[in-house]
């Protein structure tokens, strides 16, 4: 059973048909890559999936065994879609610039922070949980954050505002934030664009480890070599349409794909 299914999606901006009758699906436990030349509509598909923009026509279905069997999420707002299990990394940095790196990551664990009374005064509604339980979960969240940061050699940045991070560091923190955000599907928009070769290898290793753990990943990547190395399935877009789909090997030898990339 697929995790995400997209049916005949269309979206135009003025005269530009950014997404044109696009259909594909994402299978569980695999890394699926969405590739295609610049402007072929990949980011727009992500914006449609996460509910930031609405399609002109077409449908998007989400499957999350913990919540529902299949759910039409086509016209839902971004926060609801996120809470249904879609976690996203943007192509451009979207960190909270004035918050520390640790605070950026702590925000991702759950939405308890939205509850004013329990968050500010430690009062649980109807006494389900005591304030001390709240504090202890906070402590364990901080521990998880510290472990992640140490793993990616960012421990020294924990207390620094996110604006002080280098480009590569901020990409990493953004990926970590999307991992901490409870999810069933990870969608990553060009996570390695513009990073150093070492960091690129680090992220590649991370993606493969995540797959081992059973994560489902949909990845936009411009770099063909990286993509064909790391992914299980590849979907190729051009001018808003899916022009090819298959294993990395099939895609490598598909003349249509070569043509689209040479244009």
């Amino acid at each position: 059973m697929e995790v995400l299914k997209i049916e005949n999606l269309k979206k135009h901006f003025g005269g530009v048909q950014a997404v044109d009758n696009c259909s594909f699906s994402v299978e569980p436990g695999k890394i699926t890559a969405l590739i295609g030349p610049n402007g072929s509509g990949k980011t727009t598909v992500f914006n449609l999936i996460s509910g930031i923009i609405r399609p002109d026509s077409g449908k998007i279905f989400l499957y999350n065994p913990f919540l529902f069997k299949d759910k039409n999420i086509t016209h839902l707002p971004p926060d609801i879609i996120s809470n249904f299990g879609v976690s996203r990394v943007f192509q451009q940095s979207h960190l909270f610039a004035n918050l520390t790196v640790e605070e950026n990551l702590l925000l991702a664990f759950n939405n308890n922070d939205q509850n004013f009374w329990s968050s500010v005064f430690g009062l649980e509604s109807w006494g389900q949980k005591s304030a001390s339980a709240e504090t202890s979960t906070r402590q364990s969240q901080k521990k998880i954050v510290a472990e992640y940061l140490a793993l990616f050699r960012l421990a020294h940045m924990a207390e620094k505002p996110a604006r002080d991070l280098s480009f590569g560091q901020s990409r990493l923190v953004e990926i970590l934030r999307s991992l901490i955000n409870p999810h069933h599907l990870l969608i990553l928009d060009e996570p390695i664009a513009g990073v150093t070769p070492e960091l690129r290898d680090m992220i590649k290793k991370l993606l493969l480890e995540l797959k081992e753990k059973g994560e489902t990943i949909l990845l936009i990547e411009h770099d063909m070599n990286f993509t064909l190395n790391v992914s299980d399935r590849v979907i190729v877009m051009d001018a808003g349409q899916v022009i090819a789909e298959g294993t990395p090997d099939e895609i490598r030898h598909n003349p249509k794909v070569l043509e689209a990339y040479l244009d």
């Binding site: 996460s50 930031i52 707002p77 971004p78 926060d79 996120s82 809470n83 976690s87 996203r88 943007f90 979207h94 960190l95 909270f96 610039a97 004035n98 918050l99 605070e103 950026n104 702590l106 925000l107 991702a108 939405n111 308890n112 922070d113 939205q114 509850n115 004013f116 968050s119 500010v120 005064f121 906070r138 505002p161 604006r163 934030r177 955000n181």
Partner: protein
């Protein structure tokens, strides 16, 4: 003589500190470009004054002032739910103007431009705050409490969420946050504290009229927030003291009071300019908006 005058200034500073801290919550912490803050201040003042004149005890009037301001903030938030940034600033200014017009034109209730005289000084549990020194103590205690509550809010995970929404609302949504709810709550809390400040003002001066709550009154308060530094509570307190005392100092250099009013505006503009040039984040601020 001087000391009575000084007590008067300290009381005004205390009230302004509450008003400015309230604006910090919405503007500095949540990034809500609310230029209608004075409307909440005015609603608090009028609500509290009218109830007191009809015989309610001070504490209830005080809290009702905050509550009415808060309720109007919920309404304003619903109306402006689809509006962002510069446009929100315009609409909130419009809101302030509407409230001001109501104060002027609901003659039956507010006596229009004549204002409301004879607002009683507070009595709490039999203790009357009729002299200025005791009123200063009352204002100081309330300002201190408001400071501690707002600090508690902004240090909490909820406060961090406010700052997240300010820094990048889309990213907050993508993490699953209901940013509309969060901003509404922040605006409502901000309005509540502004309403309390309005009540303290009304019961101190014992006379209010619409002129104290015109749109322009936002300038000194917004200046305080910017000079103190966005999202800085100690900065807000310091800036309130400095910006209130500097114009007063002119009085002692011998400026006639007729030009003190315009001078005050000029000084605010100057201080604001100097800060923006030399310390764009304010006295203690760390926050930079994109």
């Amino acid at each position: 003589m001087l000391s009575a005058y000084f007590i008067h200034l300290l009381i005004l500073i205390g009230i302004y500190i509450i008003l400015a801290l309230a604006l910090q919550l919405a503007l500095g912490y949540s990034g809500i470009l609310n230029l209608g803050h004075i409307a909440f201040y005015g609603l608090g003042a009028y609500t509290s004054a009218l109830l007191a004149l009809s015989g309610w005890p001070f504490l209830l009037c005080f809290l009702a002032g905050g509550a009415v301001a808060m309720g109007s903030a919920f309404l304003l938030s619903l109306i402006t739910s689809k509006i962002k940034g510069d446009y929100l600033a315009l609409v909130t200014m419009g809101f302030c103007f509407v409230i001001y017009s109501l104060m002027l034109n609901l003659d039956e209730l507010t006596r229009g431009p004549l204002g409301l005289p004879g607002i009683p000084r507070p009595t709490i549990f039999g203790f009357s705050f009729s002299d200025n020194f005791s009123y200063l103590i009352l204002v100081t205690i309330i300002a201190g409490l408001v400071y501690l509550i707002i600090k508690r809010i902004t240090d909490s995970p909820f406060g961090k969420l406010l700052e997240a929404v300010r820094d990048n609302e889309l990213a907050a949504k993508i993490l699953g946050k209901d940013t509309f709810k969060v901003k509404t709550f922040s605006l409502a809390l901000s309005a509540f504290f502004a309403g309390l400040a309005g009540s303290l003002y009304a019961h101190y001066i014992t006379f209010i009229d619409p002129s104290s709550f015109s749109l322009m009154q936002i300038i000194p308060i917004a200046s305080i927030v910017i000079v103190g530094g966005l999202a800085s509570l100690p900065g807000t307190v310091l800036a309130t003291v400095v910006l209130t005392l500097i114009p007063e100092a002119l009085r002692f250099v011998g400026f006639p009071s007729s030009i003190l009013g315009p001078m005050r505006q000029i000084i605010y503009a100057l201080v604001l300019l100097l800060i923006l040039i030399y310390r764009p984040k304010g006295f203690f601020g760390k926050v930079e908006l994109e």
